[in-house]
């Protein structure tokens, strides 16, 4: 094997040594051991490869993209639920175990001491899927109402201008909670959580003077209006000014 052929083969040799036992490289590595000029070339290539790999491993990735990609599973999940065989099997299993009641009362367990912003972050982390994908606010309201989920009153003016993605609602040990998901410019997501029964959360300010905070790389605004409490969250890394969602 001449040096040109050896260089061609070794161009795909990984610097971490994973390919050391692959016989494809045997002759080319022999050439490196025999020819000092090849050894210099090979060492330079290894250094270049390591530098590139190390540098690229630290290249930042937008955090909001992953959240949006996570929404992609929803349509399939619903379709899967209605595949005839799967549905029949589920019905038989549920009837035989007598778990209809359990299914009808699926309640999310939430800590009694958690704040509304903490609950919102927990739901963002662990319950990021949406039950309805729709950009129609009337349909979102209707869907939430039909599931006895809290429905927002008037949306903050800035938020109403964003693109609606969809919604979800949960029955929790802290009461019912709804989520409405929006997408702003640059595909930045914003989550509006609506908690029922704001009377017990008397410390929250009104919508005109919301409380702002930052937790786990999320910017949060919370307020109460009428019978509901609200938490609006957006990823801080996206450079979002969350106040702009609340103003006209």
């Amino acid at each position: 094997m001449n040096n040109e052929k050896a260089k061609l083969v070794l161009s795909v040799y990984r610097p971490g040594g994973q390919d050391a036992i692959d016989p494809t490289f045997d002759k080319a590595l022999d050439q490196v051991r025999r020819d000092p000029a090849m050894a210099v070339w090979f060492e330079e290539q290894r250094r270049l490869d390591e530098q590139m790999m190390d540098a690229l491993a630290g290249f930042p990735v937008p955090s909001d993209g992953r959240l949006i990609a996570g929404l992609a599973i929803e349509p399939r999940r619903w379709r899967f639920a209605f595949r005839p065989l799967a549905l029949a099997a589920s019905v038989i299993l549920m009837l035989s175990l007598g778990v209809w009641a359990l299914l009808g009362d699926r309640t999310l367990q939430l800590p009694e001491t958690a704040t509304l912003t903490q609950i919102s972050l927990y739901l963002t982390e662990h319950q990021s899927s949406l039950g309805l994908m729709s950009d129609d606010l009337a349909r979102v309201r209707s869907w939430l109402e039909s599931r006895e989920g809290p429905v927002p009153g008037k949306l903050p003016p800035g938020l109403a201008q964003l693109t609606l993605i969809g919604c979800e609602t949960w029955k929790t040990t802290r009461g019912r909670v709804s989520l409405i998901c929006f997408m702003g410019e640059g595909q930045q997501v914003a989550h509006l959580y609506i908690f029922e029964g704001a009377q017990s959360r008397g410390d929250l300010p009104s919508m005109n003077a919301p409380s702002f905070s930052r937790e786990n790389d999320w910017l949060l605004a919370s307020w109460q209006d009428g019978r509901s409490a609200y938490v609006l969250g957006a990823p801080a890394a996206a450079g979002t000014v969350i106040e702009s969602y609340l103003k006209s």
């Binding site: 795909v12 330079e44 270049l48 530098q51 949006i68 899927s129």
Partner: protein
Amino acid sequence: MEADLFQRLLDLWYDPLYRFALSLSRNRDSALDLTQHTFACWAEKGGALRDTSKAKAWLFTVLYREFLRNERMRRREPTADDADSFDRIEAEGRSSYDIIDGHAAMQALQSVDEIHRAPLALFYLENNSYREIAEILDVPIGTVMSRMSRGKEQLRGILKINQERRFKVIEGKRASKGASREQ
């Protein structure tokens, strides 16, 4: 179970797929779209893949094919971006390269010709073997080797020129500081 697998794939492969998409498209929004499309395809068709150990190659292949499809459409409708082609740069001599950070490395990678960029990106971003790269790009192993070899040669040249440009900027700043002190 299906949603759990999807979430695991998202956790494992979102970042590498986004970086691969960015290296190919050289545009943040296009990279986000390509990555989003890839996971949407998995949600739609991934269940048909019986061997989930092949999920990685499946995801990278889907992303690469979508990129090629977009490029074909883009070329039918020429835009200002077409003028943004990079001259082929050959390396002169061998030296070590002052790769400052991920942005500089990504910029250099994005400057490599498209045909050589995809195998290089798969090699550097995800430490893929030549067999995996051949499978994802659907080309023979010999083609992977020749594209990698030429791609690395081009990359060396780009890094060398970028390094020289940085030195010139630094020298220029030093000279202007010195001149202002003398005044």
